[in-house]
């Protein structure tokens, strides 16, 4: 018999309105039609994902064995590769810890407490995501690098002979990751908190539970899917991260930069082996975390009701706004730095704390460059196409994963999570080696050198972002709601429109926003796959960096940040409109 949810659900210690799924409330024919519809939906989604996500990676694995086991032997004999594996793991675990330590408390603070400065802080808390990876890393170098502004201020303040620290090594990478990746944790936990009914907490309080017990027994268990999902994303991004090790990587090797080095060295076999190892490590991490996540699953019915505690203690009233201001400053510094450099005259800034000469030339040069609008148009177009495809495919995938039971569900779950694990460079190499010719027999289509190769790469990178976010939202919906809709005689389409879509909406919008923002500033896959006709804005920034026009590159970055902010505001506005015209069930 079909049971809507096989996962044993723990009962909370406190009264929670969990509606037990009523098995057998539907006739056998209804179940059969739902089941066949599930398979009908699952088949094309699995096919698309297998073709775009798995197939290129199989090419990579096949490539690693092209020369027998030679490349594998070389990999295991190389001390450099051993070093790279260890560093990669240290960086990934460190990044997860750092991002969680920042993201979770911040989300709690903003969701649960009312204090002066809360609105400002929550408005800019996601700004680090608006800093494209390459730009962010370079901004960090100018801020905290050995000759950076903050470093020199500290050096002068303490009267030191030399810089107090240097931004190199593993901790520098973790530092940058903490800044950029805590946003995932923050967004996911905030979305999770939004769905939790705070009356539950109040009920627990009424029953005499202390604050600590409430946190441990009520809030955290409900948040586990969100926190777990976010930690997973951070782990995968850190594992495949390229820009930070690329810029600070003079002294360290991680697998993603090692892949590029091997490829540049003309040792494609070794690059394929390193890619395979990295992907396998990521998939192991993925499976472990998924299992952990599955162990705990609770459901809320209805939309969460929110109340914020107004901070009353005088000490907290004084401290919280100060803390908020300090956090805002730290979060904004890299953006401010990029803006500052965009007005600095190239080459004039040497040993001073701040650039000594300012000019409008960088923006003037940018405005008079006839090619200026082409990369911007390209990036926006490609990001829109990729995100639109993500929304459709990932909504269906997440719906199937969370609310349906069918053979191949685990497979689908793995398929949507794989692309984040696999570094962008490897995705790009896989695509380049798979879609480089027309060959219907092996399902190859010529995409390399065409416009469509980058939207495809962006689409693949966006899959886990959108799918995980939608899954997070859907998991907090009680599965019996869909059954209830069917039981009340609603058609399947109506159930999707009136029940599932509203429940998925917060995740759908958060995920689409992240995917669009990632795509518009994407650098690592782009640099491998772009052609002149579709060159995106990050490649244009790199071209400026290459031609020593640091100020112009910063000016382009300012433009890119503006673009990302526009997307964010657009998404929020859409969300607001949709919420206002919302459906009865979601309201």
């Amino acid at each position: 018999m079909h049971t809507p949810n096989k996962t044993p659900r723990k009962t909370l210690r406190f009264p929670v309105p969990v509606i037990d799924p009523i098995a057998g409330s539907r006739g056998p024919s209804a179940i059969r039609s739902l089941q066949s519809r599930t398979l009908l939906l699952a088949a094309p989604v699995i096919a698309i994902l297998a073709w775009t996500v798995v197939y290129p990676n199989i090419s990579v694995i096949v490539g690693s064995l092209a020369d027998g086991a030679r490349a594998w032997k070389e990999f295991f004999a190389s001390p450099a590769d051993r070093e790279a594996v260890v560093s990669t793991l240290i960086v990934s675990v460190g990044s997860v810890i750092a991002a969680t330590l920042i993201g979770v408390p911040l989300a709690f603070l903003l969701a649960r407490f009312e204090f002066r400065g809360r609105r400002t802080l929550s408005a800019i808390a996601t700004l680090p995501a608006a800093l494209p990876p390459l730009v962010g890393v370079v901004a960090f170098m100018f801020l905290y690098g050995e000759s950076g502004v903050v470093t020199r201020i500290v050096q002068h303040a303490l009267g030191l002979e030399r810089a107090p620290w240097s931004l190199t090594g593993l901790w520098a990478i973790v530092f940058v990751h903490a800044y950029t990746m805590y946003v995932y944790v923050f967004l996911f936990v905030s979305a999770g908190l939004e769905r939790i009914d705070t009356t539950l907490d109040e009920a627990a309080e009424g029953l005499g539970a202390s604050r600590a017990v409430r946190l441990r027994r009520v809030t955290l268990p409900l948040l586990t899917p969100s926190i777990g999902g976010a930690m997973l994303l951070v782990f995968m991004s850190a594992l495949g991260s390229f820009s930070a090790p690329y810029v600070f990587g003079g002294g360290i090797r991680v697998l993603s930069t090692q892949i590029v080095a091997s490829k540049l060295n003309g040792n494609l076999g070794l690059a394929y082996v390193e890619t395979t190892v990295l992907a396998l490590a990521a998939i192991v991490g993925l499976v472990v975390l998924r299992r952990f996540e599955r162990r705990r699953s609770y459901a809320m019915s209805g939309k969460g009701r929110q109340t914020r505690v107004v901070v009353t203690s005088p000490l907290a009233r004084a401290l919280l706004p100060a803390l908020a201001i300090a956090t805002v400053a730290v979060l904004l510094l890299p953006h401010a730095m990029v803006v500052l450099v965009s007005f600095a005259r190239d080459g004039a800034w040497t040993t001073q704390v701040l650039p000594p000469e300012y000019t409008l030339d960088n923006f003037r040069r940018m405005a008079t460059d006839p090619a200026l609008w082409v990369p911007i148009r390209n990036s926006v177009t490609m990001a829109l196409i990729a995100t639109a495809a993500n929304v459709v495919v990932c909504f269906v995938a997440a719906y199937l994963i969370v609310l349906r039971r069918f053979p191949g569900r685990r497979l689908l779950e793995l398929l949507v999570a794989i692309p984040w694990a696999i570094p962008a460079t490897a995705i790009a190499i896989g695509l380049a080696s798979t879609f480089n010719r027309n060959d219907p027999l092996t399902l190859r289509v010529l995409l390399v050198g065409t416009f469509w190769i980058l939207p495809l790469a962006y689409f693949i990178r966006g899959i886990p972002l959108v799918a995980t976010a939608v899954e997070g939202s859907l998991k907090q919906m009680d599965p019996s709601l869909e059954d209830a809709a069917h039981g009340l005689g609603g058609s399947w389409l109506m159930a999707v429109r009136r029940v599932i879509l509203p429940a998925a909406r917060p995740g759908l919008i958060a995920g689409a926003l992240l995917a669009a923002v990632t795509a518009v500033g994407e650098f690592v896959a782009s640099i491998v796959l772009y052609t002149h006709a579709n060159r995106p804005i990050a490649v244009e920034i790199l071209a400026q960096l290459r031609s020593l026009a640091f100020g112009t590159a910063a000016a382009y970055s300012v433009l890119l940040i503006g673009l990302v902010l526009t997307i964010t505001l657009l998404a929020r506005w859409t969300e607001g409109r949709m919420a206002r015209s919302g459906s009865p069930v979601g309201a």
């Binding site: 190389s78 001390p79 450099a80 170098m141 690098g145 050995e146 000759s147 190199t168 690329y246 810029v247 990587g249 003079g250 002294g251 590029v260 080095a261 490829k263 540049l264 060295n265 003309g266 040792n267 494609l268 190239d346 080459g347 004039a348 800034w349 040497t350 040993t351 148009r377 926006v380 177009t381 490609m382 829109l384 196409i385 639109a388 929304v391 190499i429 380049a432 080696s433 480089n436 010719r437 010529l446 390399v448 050198g449 416009f451 640099i527 772009y530 052609t531 002149h532 006709a533 060159r535 071209a543 400026q544 960096l545 290459r546 031609s547 020593l548 026009a549 640091f550 859409t574």
Partner: protein, 343 residues
């Protein structure tokens, strides 16, 4: 849901509107936006039906791209890379032969015997330093001087895996020691001592120049045209010396990509950027030393004449480099990088 769909269709219209119907000539080159844009506009002025599209990337990356695209070549012309890299590409069958009209005006070491590539510019390698941090008197004068312990943690260089320039310098050092001692051991030891003095390997030139300009490092090894460009364009306090015992002079080349979609157009562009006038413009505006020997010396800027007179060229066996450099660099990456300070 209607709104995103509308946005998407507008985007699709925009995306499809880019085809101008012109003959598109694709050029892969590491020569940088300024130089490339100059030639793009100049060439398009000679023929309004042509649209030159250049893709700017490191020379090792061009080779990497051509390998990946071998089944479906995207580029027509490969403009710029050290001869060693062109020789690898020639060996792998990635280039199409073309004999330019001026073939007789370059020395033998600046051309391929099968006409697969020809030299355009000469690029001497130099030792450069921040002249605010290092006086001319204390600056290193020759390669071996940079091994002096006084430079410990004061040298910053490009990551040699990605940089054609650094590969050329490392290759020349190992080849020199190999010729002297008959083994690569001495060359590796030399690089290990350099590693001990090296504070950082930067992954792109811009970061190197920034760090040198801002005194995170005092000394670097790089090529002369880029350092001259840095001096002229940014007024950074950099100076350089040509190593007294001799320096490897890279020959930068040009080639037509095998399977180019527009071979005739590619040949015209090839000729266009290598005329005597074009080379003069490159020398004056982009600080490139022409490889052709028939460009009148008095039409070239003074620093080029001076460099040509004072510079001693280090003879390098290019065949040896083409065969061994990848192996040496792999050994360096696995066994020397970051190991110098431990020994």
């Amino acid at each position: 849901m209607i709104r995103p769909l509308a946005l998407l269709s507008v985007a699709l219209l925009l995306a499809c509107g880019g085809d101008s119907g012109k003959n598109v000539l694709t050029v892969y080159s590491p020569h940088g936006k300024d130089l490339l844009q100059h030639y793009e506009l100049a060439f398009e002025r000679t023929d309004s039906t042509v649209d030159v599209q250049w893709v700017d990337m490191g020379s090792q990356e061009v080779l990497d791209r051509l390998r990946a695209e071998a089944a479906n070549p995207q580029a027509d012309v490969w403009f710029g890379a050290p001869a060693e890299i062109f020789e690898r590409a020639a060996k792998e069958g990635l280039l199409e032969p073309h004999r330019p009209t001026w073939a007789a005006s370059v020395p033998d070491e600046a051309r391929d015997p099968q006409d697969l590539w020809y030299g355009t510019y000469l690029t001497p390698e130099v030792i450069a330093y921040n002249s605010d941090a290092v006086t001319d008197a204390e600056a290193p004068k020759d390669w071996d001087d940079v091994l002096d312990p006084k430079w410990r943690d004061r040298i910053i260089i490009r990551d040699p895996i990605a940089s054609g320039t650094m590969r050329a310098i490392f290759g020349a050092i190992i080849a020199r020691e190999l010729a002297r001692t008959g083994s690569t051991r001495a060359g590796y030891d030399w690089l290990l001592r350099l590693d001990a003095n090296t504070k950082e390997y930067t992954l792109n030139p811009t970061i190197l120049f920034q760090k040198l300009g801002r005194q995170e490092g005092a000394v670097t090894l790089y090529n002369m045209p880029d350092m001259a460009m840095l001096q002229v364009r940014t007024k950074m306090p950099v100076k350089w010396v040509v190593p007294t015992s001799g320096t490897p002079v890279l020959v930068e080349g040009i080639a037509i990509v095998k399977g180019a979609r527009h071979p005739e157009l590619a040949k015209r562009f090839y000729e266009f950027v290598t005329t005597s006038e074009a080379l003069r413009a490159a020398a004056n505006d982009f600080l490139r030393i022409p490889a052709r020997t028939d460009v009148p010396a008095d039409s070239l800027p003074a620093w080029i004449r001076e460099a040509k007179e004072t510079m001693k060229t280090m003879a390098v066996d290019r065949q040896l480099l083409a065969d061994s450099l990848d192996v040496w660099m792999r050994y360096w990456d696995a066994n020397i990088r970051n190991r110098g300070k431990r020994s």
